[in-house]
Symmetry: C2
Subunit: 368 residues, 2 copies
């Protein structure tokens, strides 16, 4: 079996599929990339039984066949070759010879027999989301994913596609919630939960400026994301996702408009005094066109003031500094609206205009 | 005690002295930076009893005094303040209040009583080296420093200033040697060994483009480097340094001129097949205007060829790939001369012209 391809193409494909390769597995083949050749089509696959990534590139060949090769070594070798076209040749002992103009590597491959097949999923109920939009949806909800493995379904993001064509992506760890909504062109209702790790890999593969659509389909056990030559397969999470609609407060007693960067800077200054041993909520007093932020731990104390646009009642509220920082950083907005309903009610963060996202942060009791 | 200074100045000074602060010490004060105020002069010091760095900046004050403050926290707080001028104020309980326009931190300091004094060294026998030159000397010799603590004197660099005004900086770990020479303006003979860690910190503080001189003086136990407002103090290493002159071969049987980048690329490709478990020397055959490089380990094999200018006998030689790579990377030259005297004799690497450095690498027996 012999084929040639562009170094640039194979290096990119290896980079794309490597993230789904097992670092350590009882099935040695899963620590490798499967290379499958069908004449001029070369398919590379990484799959750890949870997540699979497949990428296809062009090759020059008159052969068919497949083998598995150690992902790390194969990636390093192809990257270090100095030639534009690389030639790969396997013998019956599964040794691969990788050659350029003068450099020649010879390494061992594994048989592809042990390599598991990717799940089969029918693309009957497929819907499309622009790549840049999907990337933004994932990035804006990633912060509120639960890390608690006791309730696995909450370690993913709910994809809730409703009858009116709204695609809601939702994450929540019980102390905070992130909801991002986009309108899409589908009449079907879908509801399933995608593991956070899958979404983080999909986000990495999505291009920020690509309006090209990403095709999404599922069979209730698995989901497939189609991104041009790259296809991502993932298990879905089972279980009942938190009823997110009930936790979003419908009204507010105070509305605050704040410059995101100013509040982030202020909370980052508070963060210096907070660590595992020295915990304390950040105290915010919203009144008279300012928010007074303060915090006191075993390390020291800080007080700071920033101007805001405020309408409604004055509010004193405490919250977990990291949760608020995560939400502000995920907002992708220069300004934000913060809705408050009192010192013991959930904080609601929304864009200055529209309703593309809602972030909720639970308040924390202030002891002083 | 109260003073104000530019945020930029104090942040730079904290960054400079922090590298000499103990990460963990039985003397808690050594985990901090000493701040010493004499009216308009603010002196910051980090000192872990081996290495001390002192930096001086301007302040606005009518006070004198000193305190010690946790290096990491102080560094983070000053960096995060958003104001150009910062004001520091201590009370009798050694609380420091750090204020800008609206932000106010309050943290605890420690008394400076426990803080040890830096060594006293007379600057009678002081000599000068341009900063850029000293940086280059340190960078070119760092790779050959011994990591073996059994012979501590070899874990530093010998400063050998001879009667003819040559400043030789020498490092060796027994398998390789680096010698860098510059002519300086002194009639005095000096010979002492500076710890590698000190030199790495001095290199960090030296500016690549600064012709301004660095003053160097010592008292046989300690050395002092003066770099403008920054002064570095360090213990010297005791013991007999390797007699480096005897190990440099005076002649050669083969001279090779090679493009550094090409040989580095080639050896980096070999490096992919070598690790702790899979060791093997790199085999080089110098003949007929080329060097054929090959290597074979449990991971796989490689063969590669690069063109060279060769005069003299053909040579087949093996060496430790990392040692050769370190030397080539430290050369700072586009081309290099390699002098060989046979397959079992030390490899000598020198610049294409002149004799500013000599790197030696011992050969390794080839089993095939």
């Amino acid at each position: 079996m012999k084929f040639s391809c562009k170094k640039e193409d194979i290096c990119a494909a290896i980079g794309n599929v490597s993230k789904a390769v097992s670092v350590k597995s009882t099935i040695t083949a899963l620590e490798g990339i499967r290379i499958k050749l069908s004449y001029t089509v070369l398919e590379l696959t990484g799959y750890d039984l949870e997540l699979g990534i497949r990428s296809t590139i062009e090759a020059v060949s008159e052969d068919c066949g497949e083998f598995v090769v150690n992902a790390r070594l194969f990636s390093e070798i192809t990257r270090k070759m100095s030639d534009e076209i690389l030639t790969f040749e396997t013998d019956e002992m599964l040794n691969i010879r990788i050659t350029g103009a003068v450099t020649e590597y010879c390494i061992s491959a594994m048989s592809a027999e042990e390599y598991p097949d990717l799940p089969e999923v029918s693309d009957e109920h497929r819907f499309l989301v622009p790549q840049d939009q999907l990337k933004s949806m994932i990035n804006q909800t990633a912060h509120a994913v639960s890390l608690n493995e006791n309730k696995p379904v909450m370690t993913g993001a709910l994809f809730d596609i409703t009858e009116d064509g709204n695609f809601n992506m939702v994450t929540s760890d019980g102390y905070r919630l992130a909801l991002r909504t986009e309108h899409i062109d589908t009449a079907e209702v879908h509801r399933f939960v995608v593991p956070a790790r899958t979404l983080s890999e999909v986000s990495r593969l999505l291009k920020e400026d690509a309006k090209a659509p990403c095709g999404i389909y599922n069979n209730f056990k698995h989901i497939v994301f189609e991104l041009g030559e790259i296809t991502v397969f993932s298990r879905l999470l089972e279980g009942d996702f938190h009823n997110y609609r009930a936790s979003i407060p419908p009204d507010k007693r105070t509305e605050v408009i704040v410059r995101t960067r100013e509040l982030v800077n202020c909370l980052e200054r508070c963060a210096l005094l907070i660590n595992e041993k020295n915990k304390a909520p950040v105290r915010c007093v919203f009144e008279n066109g300012t928010v007074k932020v303060s915090c006191k731990t075993g390390i020291g104390s800080i007080s700071d003031t920033i101007p805001v646009d405020l309408s409604g009642d004055a509010v004193t509220i405490g919250f977990n500094n990291k949760f608020m920082l995560d939400a502000l950083r995920a907002s992708e907005c220069d300004k934000l609206r913060i809705h408050l309903s009192g010192g013991n009610r959930v904080v609601k963060i929304i864009p200055p205009e529209g309703d593309s996202f809602v972030f909720l942060v639970m308040p924390v009791d202030l002891k002083y």
